[in-house]
Subunit: 162 residues, 2 copies
Amino acid sequence: MESQNVKDTVRQIFTEYLSANGHRKTPERYAILDTIYSIDGHFDIDTLYTLMADQENFRVSRATLYNTIILLINAHLIIKHQFGNSSQYERSYDRNTHHHQICTQCGKVTEFQNEELQRAIESTKLTHFCLSHYSLYIYGLCSKCARANKRKKKNNNHKKEK
Amino acid sequence: MESQNVKDTVRQIFTEYLSANGHRKTPERYAILDTIYSIDGHFDIDTLYTLMADQENFRVSRATLYNTIILLINAHLIIKHQFGNSSQYERSYDRNTHHHQICTQCGKVTEFQNEELQRAIESTKLTHFCLSHYSLYIYGLCSKCARANKRKKKNNNHKKEK
DNA sequence: GTCAGTGCAAACTTTTTGCAACTAC
DNA sequence: GTAGTTGCAAAAAGTTTGCACTGAC
């Protein structure tokens, strides 16, 4: 789907959500949705704030960002993650299901897809629970940090031998 | 394994970790480890602080709790979760692998086990990444909230009909 | 004796809240 | 016109940091 089509579609979904829940269709809300759907990958509130402040887009306050984010989560247009210190968000419409690898050393987050895993999770029978979405976070060492550690260990051994 | 045995074992693991990394074996650190290993399920810093302040155990400051928690994570004796506002922790030694269901409405977190799912995740081939541990969070509605919503919807329909 | 670790309070970061002004309906 | 929204600033909540003191080694 083309980028503009996606933006139009999510705007429509958002409009329906706002109407259905008696919320107003303010220009701020649409500007925020538009900006979010022009970001690839994760973002936090501060990044979004700066992005909207810098570009000619639209100037909105942090409070409005937080308010709108809640609406967008409820409208299933974005999902929230909590790795690291601040909350991270990502758009959820027209994006492939993916999982997250988080390096416990440098904090780097990478995404990966795995259909088999996806199937396994989605076909899990849950008791007393109605699934909406899920997040799988895999923690460990990225190749860069693993290599750095190896080198460090080697150096330490050399020191000891002296 | 008996509770006391577990506590002895983790204390030993912690001792080895501290020695290996040139950290001191302070009474505060062991008191914190002991308290954590007498808690079932999740806890946050504040809960731990209150628990240790109330009981005769040992009085430690929040700063020390944060410091020690980091050591315990690195020693693989506890793992960190980030649902809701504050970070949650749980002991990881001698506890069954489990996944988390989080109600998006009331925030309640429940654990469940599923060996098939566990196998699927653990057998996933990762590229450029060395797995240490993982967390699967399933979001949705708990049965209580799902029922409450149904009732609410019904009432709204009745109102509209008037 | 030395320096890592501790307690305390202050600082910092992220998020929430109260309130006056604004505007979508 | 009115009530839901916005922006701002203040407050709250969670975590980190600086510093003097303590105690493990």
